[in-house]
């Protein structure tokens, strides 16, 4: 079920009506679970079985960790829980990749054909990571190791219900933000209508829909021309504008979705973590990763990077850890080598930046901040090419065309449309910069909200799934 669909709006309204009824207050979690199951089952009902199975096994292993007294048992259950989640993720997500490898290496076509048929359940990358977070947080919260106790002495029945809820909560189920157990569980309690900040939720949801439906979907109809072989007959200027447009599109699509998820969760009394913090103003690649897909980057930092030693084992080990995290983070996005290359590309940028930073620093001035921000944006945009053209050869051809198509005709219509639909995002960023320096928020006005709502109703692009649904 897409967020930008009538069934979703009806589901939210119906759930809200039931959720805040006084007589049903003690069933609030049950109501949200039922709504989440309806949301997930809308497109792929059979895969609900996997979601419930995943939630059940995570509930069992995490409870066993909690209730065991011996460290070696806790560790065994923790390792089993993590291994289960990784196994599910690898089986359903990476089977096609293994299938291709097997076909290339061992020529076992029958095996590879079977592997290629395995479906990719929507949201699996997100809910398996949440499962890992639960198991690890439970292990770390045993009183002996933890500085972050979050769990209370619940019965297994209560814990099971809360875990199914945590794994399946529909605003963040299929494309994040990835919520960590220690952030979410303390919030599970009775919610009251009077406590809900409807005004703020309205602003967040409206901004999310505007970014997704007006900006991203309309840009999607233009960046279609980036696909192979269409880009081969476009001018250099058109190709560069398309790349710029795709950067704006992918930000608007993903940030828009995250805002809708955050706003929808707020309606039910739950705070999800911020997922985007104006990433394109970043002045360094490490800053970029504190602003883009924040929930994933903090998850990788907390559960992988720190476990590998972080930056506490010398420079060389830090660089290796960074590369490992970024390569795996890239591969998380999809079962294609191009995503791993993308991750490696960012890893290389981070390592290079750290290396240079040990001996050289740019002067701290507005001019250099702008130069650095443009530099970061340019290299990040080049990286997005691998998302639009997952076939590596096509991405290389695109870059080649940028350098060789100087004499090709311009697509003025495409360039103009990209410019028009990018303007709101540029205004959004400009407002953020103004707000940061002068405490002025020009976009927080009735006219702007009215304009956004008007555009959502009358100027939406062709409805398309969120880009990150495919991950």
């Amino acid at each position: 079920m897409l967020f930008n669909s009538v069934p979703f709006v009806l589901l939210v309204i119906l759930t809200l009506v039931l959720y805040y009824r006084r007589t049903l207050r003690k069933y609030q979690v049950h109501i949200l679970i039922a709504a989440s199951f309806a949301f997930y089952a809308w497109g792929q009902p059979i895969l609900l079985i996997l979601l419930v199975a995943s939630g059940s096994i995570n509930a069992a292993t995490s409870y066993l960790i909690f209730s065991s007294n011996e460290i070696w048992k806790k560790k065994t259950y923790a390792i089993s829980g993590v291994a289960f989640n990784l196994a599910v993720l690898m089986f359903f997500k990476y089977s096609p990749l293994f299938g291709q490898l097997i076909e290339n290496i061992a020529s076992a076509k029958a095996v590879s054909e079977v592997l290629l048929l395995i479906p990719l359940p929507v949201g699996i990358s997100f809910y398996t990571f949440q499962g890992i977070s639960l198991v690890v947080d439970m292990y770390r919260a045993d009183g002996l190791h933890s500085h972050r106790p979050f769990y209370y002495n619940e019965t297994f029945k209560k814990h099971y219900l809360n875990t199914i809820f945590f794994i399946s909560f529909f605003p963040q189920l299929v494309a994040g933000p990835i919520v960590k157990a220690h952030q979410f569980y303390p919030q599970i309690k009775a919610k009251y209508l009077g406590e809900v900040d409807f005004a703020n939720a309205y602003k967040i949801i409206l901004t999310g829909y505007f970014l997704k439906i007006v900006v991203a979907d309309n840009l999607n109809d233009q960046t279609f021309w980036m696909t192979y072989p269409f880009f081969e007959s476009l001018s250099t200027a058109t190709l560069l504008m398309l790349l710029f447009g795709y950067s704006i599109q992918i930000f608007s699509d993903f940030a828009g979705y995250s805002l809708i998820a955050i706003g929808a969760a707020k309606l039910f009394g739950y705070d999800l973590p911020q997922n985007f913090n104006f990433p394109y103003v970043s002045r360094s690649f490490s800053e970029f990763w504190t602003r883009w897909h924040i929930s994933l980057s903090t998850w990788l930092k907390e559960y992988l990077y720190f476990s590998l030693g972080g930056n506490r084992r010398g420079h060389v080990r830090t660089y290796i850890n960074l590369m490992v995290v970024m390569l795996l983070g890239g591969l998380w996005h999809g079962a294609a080598w191009s995503y791993m290359v993308w991750g490696g590309y960012h890893g290389l940028l981070l390592v290079t930046e750290r290396l240079i930073g040990r001996w050289f620093a740019f002067p701290a001035s507005a001019f250099w901040n702008i130069v650095k921000a443009i530099w970061v944006f340019t290299l990040v945009s080049v990286g997005w090419l691998l998302f639009k053209l997952p076939e590596f050869g096509q991405a290389l051809k695109y870059i080649e065309s940028v350098f060789s198509n100087g004499n090709m005709p311009h697509r003025v219509d495409v360039v103009a449309m990209i410019a028009i639909y990018s303007l709101p995002v540029l205004a959004y960023y400009g407002n953020y910069v103004l707000k940061s320096h002068f405490k002025t928020n020009l976009l927080d006005s009735s006219v702007i909200y009215a304009g956004m709502m008007f555009a959502v109703f009358v100027n939406s692009g062709r409805s398309s799934a969120f880009i990150y649904f495919q991950f």
């Binding site: 109809d221 909200y449 709502m453 109703f457 009358v458 100027n459 409805s463």
Partner: protein, 294 residues
Amino acid sequence: MVEVVRSSIFNSSKITNSLIIFIGVFVCYNIYLIVIKPPVAFYQNQWQNNFSRAQDYVYYSNAERVIVGSSMANRMEDGLLPDKYFNLALSGGSALTGLEIIKRSGRLPSKIYVEGNLIFKNKDDEMIHQLFLPFTFHLKRLVPALQEKNQPINVLVSLIKNQYIAQHKEQVKEFVNNDIFVAQLAQSREFYLSPPTGYLNELRELVELVNYFELEGVSIYFFEMPIAPELANLTRSLEQRRIIKSLFNNEWLPYPDNGEYQTTDGIHLTYASAHRFSQHFTAGADKLDTIDSN
């Protein structure tokens, strides 16, 4: 619950004001569209152009004669054909999509002209699904601001474009970028050298649709758009024609003399050539009318 909701949202004057402004602007925009009916001459992309064309047909058309086909027939733009024609040929689309749209709209014309050039292109089920979604179908018919062609950007650019055209009287030129023409003609040649394959589903759908329309009293004719002479006698062109003629007894409009027309890429007519072909098309259609009535 309603009391608390009201007190939460509407305690914010910004939100209240924004809703009032939105409703005001939305209503005014709809009134503007209903009363002024601004002519729309600009679409942001091909899909929107197709979808708007389909909406125009299902919501407003009373045309006696409808053309269905692909981007090739789509070159006979609005204004090149007399008012009794509606061109439902879709860029990147197929005759099957057009036929299905006519059928589901319930607006049956007296004659349908089916382009034979890319007749086995598959139907766009997604577009048809979006077009006929029960709730939005009726809502968009009643509220013109929700129709794709009436997006504010389209209306605004059309106003400027129509002003410009009225002042500068757009000149009809035979303009072809030779490099693109050569490259794309070579690609088209590759395509036309091979016979059509994997078309049985499409053929079956075509038979069903033609039978449906004929049972409803609609006359079906086939026609071909001109293409580069180098492509006209290649395998695909000839084989498609043979297959259609073997299955359907319907009449064909007179074949065009391919050498008389210019294309931009081997298969799509230039504006000037489309202008001339549309005259050939309507003359051929009228001649068939005369023969049928005799």
